[in-house]
Symmetry: C2
Amino acid sequence: MPRIEPRLLKGFRDYLPEVMIPRTRMLRKIAAVFERFGFEPLDTPAIEYADILMGKLGPEAEKLFYRFRDSGDRDVALRYELTVSLARVVAQYSTDLPRPFKRYQMGPVWRAEAPSMERGRFREFWQCDVDIVGSHSLLADAECLAVDHAVMQAVGVKTHLIRFNNRKLFRGLQEKLGINQDAQMAAIMRAVDKFDKVGREGVEKELAALEGVDAAARQTVLAFLDLAKFEGGNDARIGKLSEFLGSAASGHLGCSELREVLVEARRMGVPEKHLLVDATIVRGLDYYTGTVFETTLSDAPSFGSVMSGGRYDGLVGLFAGKDEPAVGISVGIDRLLAALESASLLMKSKASASVLVTVFDETCLEYALKSATELRRAGVNTEVYLEVGAKLKKQLAYAERKAIPLVVIAGPEEIDAGETQLRVMGTGEQLRLKLTELPQAAMSRFVEPDPNTAAGRTWDWAFKPEMIERVPEVGGLFLLRDETRVVKFAGWAKYGDLRNAIRRSLGPAQATKVKTFDWYEIREDELSEALCEFVVARLKPEFNA
Amino acid sequence: MPRIEPRLLKGFRDYLPEVMIPRTRMLRKIAAVFERFGFEPLDTPAIEYADILMGKLGPEAEKLFYRFRDSGDRDVALRYELTVSLARVVAQYSTDLPRPFKRYQMGPVWRAEAPSMERGRFREFWQCDVDIVGSHSLLADAECLAVDHAVMQAVGVKTHLIRFNNRKLFRGLQEKLGINQDAQMAAIMRAVDKFDKVGREGVEKELAALEGVDAAARQTVLAFLDLAKFEGGNDARIGKLSEFLGSAASGHLGCSELREVLVEARRMGVPEKHLLVDATIVRGLDYYTGTVFETTLSDAPSFGSVMSGGRYDGLVGLFAGKDEPAVGISVGIDRLLAALESASLLMKSKASASVLVTVFDETCLEYALKSATELRRAGVNTEVYLEVGAKLKKQLAYAERKAIPLVVIAGPEEIDAGETQLRVMGTGEQLRLKLTELPQAAMSRFVEPDPNTAAGRTWDWAFKPEMIERVPEVGGLFLLRDETRVVKFAGWAKYGDLRNAIRRSLGPAQATKVKTFDWYEIREDELSEALCEFVVARLKPEFNA
């Protein structure tokens, strides 16, 4: 048989482990946020009848489908996006599904468009959608903003700005302009949409080039733009827009919806600094009917919007033949991943394993396997070097290459003593430990414990603001330690206040002497207090004095 | 536009939330096990060049591909399984990837075969593969058995049996029989493979129907079968087979490999009761070259093998044009899910949310949103009822329908007092709580805390053997409580012994009085001991007296 050249189709890519590891972690965090807000997972087939998948799209989009005849000569296609399948599901299982139906779906979609690797445009890419179907309530819109904020928090972003608008404002502007043709209004909206790229003058030029938009209309649009960017806070901006559009019914309604979404998003705990009412946001042309929003990162602005969405009341009812209002978000997975990497927010990793257990020789194999089992039982991802008889140098080179941070070594001498060597690859530091101490020692040397994944490991956290921020808002006892692990301070916190208590516990001079901290969640405040008293009395930490 | 009938292609299915929720949880647990053993995630495209995907398969299989011309007239297909793409990746990035290359991949594959919903045969289904590429070491084979066992443990199975064999034994049998034609040997192996279904007599009949297999040969095969099922433990069985096949070189090698894999799997901590050497295991015909294994559940035997795999040294080198030994496992996701359900091991759920926060009326909305935010911060999946003004009865019916176990209710009276009602849907119990107490109270009423997902929640676990088994093997303090939450016993454990210490702490009479327990992981044994002394002195638990 002739050798087949290994190759990929143009526009397709493999996700090798060094991309797949951070990507998988990010997707898990995002799914956890969706579930935290009560969204249910859904999955639908990749292949469906072409008429279903194309139901709502024009002939231009139809060209972009992977469409073919299956072996039963059915006209089928690969899904182009996830919303149309959601619409089908809602119609098909209408009475089985609750309303609102809150679902999330993550998976690949396929588009036969010209790929551009440089611009990150692929023929196969993942979509990650969350939607609320069957509710007209503006609480649902606000919840989307709250989910947006929570996703940003979960992936470690602090500089996100959720810019939102309501499409009814454009209806109001259209009324005010007295434009009858929707196509003409669409052209104006396209011009407005370019504001962030081309600025006020740029939009003015675009408008001047439009047929049928006279100088007066142009001035009205520019006045709208000025209010859209009015610098006086979100409430003032809505007030100005409302004054300006108030005479137009749609404009009035749009402004009042905008105000309500802002108020509810605040009540849901989204800080004001992450919310920006911006009436230049359009988000596509023929899809959204009310709230629209997008999300940019101040420390990675060039990536554009990493999460966006809005209300689209006309679409999900497509197959049901009845009104199914909907509001949702789409996360740009690959764009977000790239933005996080550019902002140094991505915990990169080439290996799942935190520890490589080396095998000294055949006689030491059993002990090596036992060490690995102990580490795995304690929740440490551990790889065993599989080629018995390989030189230690080769085994260390393997750890080096995969960037596995810790290596376990045990030869006959260590084994006789029931001990093992733990080598920290980054520093070359090598510790001799009892086998029973190994899991603890390995865990305590993780650079970044993640409370979402490291069940039960709540000690030896680096005493840094970013780690303190990861402490859940529970209550309990905490111990602050210096570099030799001596307890310098013991404190306790009422339920809900542990993170704050750790943050506030020391002055700057003392803080420099603390390297790590432990925390223990305790439900009863009295027990926390009593335990802390006891620890202070027993250990007499320097900074408690 | 005419209404489009919502429908699925034959052989395809939607995963609605009530299936998707337990499925997603199971897949996460399985991925965590793979990572625990140092396997890296990989993803490859769904569409590839047809010649790549079909590289290794015969014309029969080619008919089962979804194959078509893309818009660039390329001959493409949807992937039929995941191994061929692994082979392509190994060849394409050969120098970038370490050896051994340990990867896992989970994703859909497509087969245009006659679907059978009853028999669980779909045209789109998920594969979940884990492979070690580039190692001839039998440690890799044994590691697959250890991963198999760990997956079973992770999904809650206790009655699994990993039956394994080595294909070289059949080579040995072929030598012993003096059969030259591989096709004839294949027919004999097919007969042997049916042993579990048709029994010894059934196999005898099958053999009798084969041309060219005389009575003497038949007796030799039956003698082999008897040894394959010899009841005297795994070592004895290998010994018998080795005696029988020892004169044939392949048989001798096969038996010695079988023995080594058994020894290493034991050393990796797989208990003997889950391992069964069974020389009737064939696992397909033209693929495997050494170790083969499959996994059945004693409490759900009718589902057949839920995990299987083996060594296939000829395949992964397909594109590389060089030797790439490989050994791997495939988890039958859908079959495993069905088996778990049948064995009542599946935690079913229709909703992501554990709590529904109701909205009493417009004036109470802010307080409701605040309650939801507090719950989410504490890690509780929480849904807010989105239609303000709906009757409480309707809101409760929504919780009922989605089987959300807890409901929060707060009207003006509760709000004035800074309180809230927590209703347990199952019992109708309703508690009045301070808002600050709500997250704790909600968390403590979860039926099954999962230490893998519930970060930091280590209290109010049901005092049952299956929950004690979930305590990690760490050290620390534990408290046993009665139904009114009074501490009946306080204990501590050295690092590594916490689970055992909880298990051993009480006699049967006392144990009946304990309903829940808390545990606190503490690294220093002295601190655990001192804290326990203190708690005993302070709380004077009845059973410590």
